[in-house]
Symmetry: C2
Subunit: 131 residues, 2 copies
DNA sequence: GTTCATGCAAATCGTTTGCACAATG
DNA sequence: CATTGTGCAAACGATTTGCATGAAC
């Protein structure tokens, strides 16, 4: 563990959650981590898995991937196009790609997969919020 | 409207939802669409907005953008890297970008914005599921 | 007149939180 | 021993769904 400023103590549960995430490529959900650890910690609670995942994200030790089902936004433009999400005002701004740009061309190991669509979301600070 | 196979009928509410989405760039949430239409349809229900949004997504007339807070997955690898999501088996596979590839370089109108991070998710069918 | 759309309220699902107790340093 | 971690259960917020009624065709 490598927490900054001693804000957090050591915990067996959190250590194991991190260990699992560092040793798998399956991008598990909170629930599947809970199931994996339930044998080892018979009275582990799902709430605690969530709590620890949030701490691990906060301390930069893991990454959260949002393919969320809730709090969706909707777009009348059905062509795949990137979005810019401002971390200050939370606005979502349409971006336009250069002609013929295909991000899949810059990915290794894409051969053999059928590419149907993509989403590209760029996070940062928009002009208005810059200062 | 342009529904396939006459599966859906015409509805004033759905037409207006589509119209709003085609005439705004603000990527509204279901709730904000509900608020916008509440004056026009005083007894509109939020549930119905959701129902119609799902129909519009299903028929390909609008796009759902997931920046969701729920159903997250977690990744022990904190470097920004693209993912491939298989629409058949729902697995999430790490992808590797070519050295030095920066998607922001291919976006128009990115000047003036502060880019901090990005997510690139490619959807399709993985090798195993191809058939 | 059969089927789809609607409003309403209850249900669902992923996630968060308050609380009393246990573990850490 | 002061503070953080835990399990439990209740709360939460976005979304979905069952049901009876109303609109479309």
């Amino acid at each position: 563990m490598n927490y900054e400023a001693g804000k957090y103590r050591k915990s067996r549960q959190r250590d194991r959650i991190l260990e699992i995430l560092q040793n798998t490529k399956s991008h598990p959900t909170a629930d599947s981590i809970y199931i994996m650890l339930k044998e080892e910690f018979p009275d582990l609670s799902l709430g605690n898995v969530y709590r620890n995942l949030n701490i691990l994200v906060e301390t930069g030790m893991i990454q959260r991937l949002d393919f969320g089902s809730t709090f969706n936004r909707f777009d009348g433009n059905c062509n795949p196009h990137p979005h810019f999400i401002c971390e200050r005002c939370n606005s979502v701004i349409d971006l336009e790609m250069d002609e013929g740009f295909d991000p899949a061309k810059f990915i290794k190991d894409i051969d053999g997969k059928v590419v149907k669509n993509f989403t590209l979301e760029i996070f940062g600070i928009c002009e208005k919020c810059k200062h």
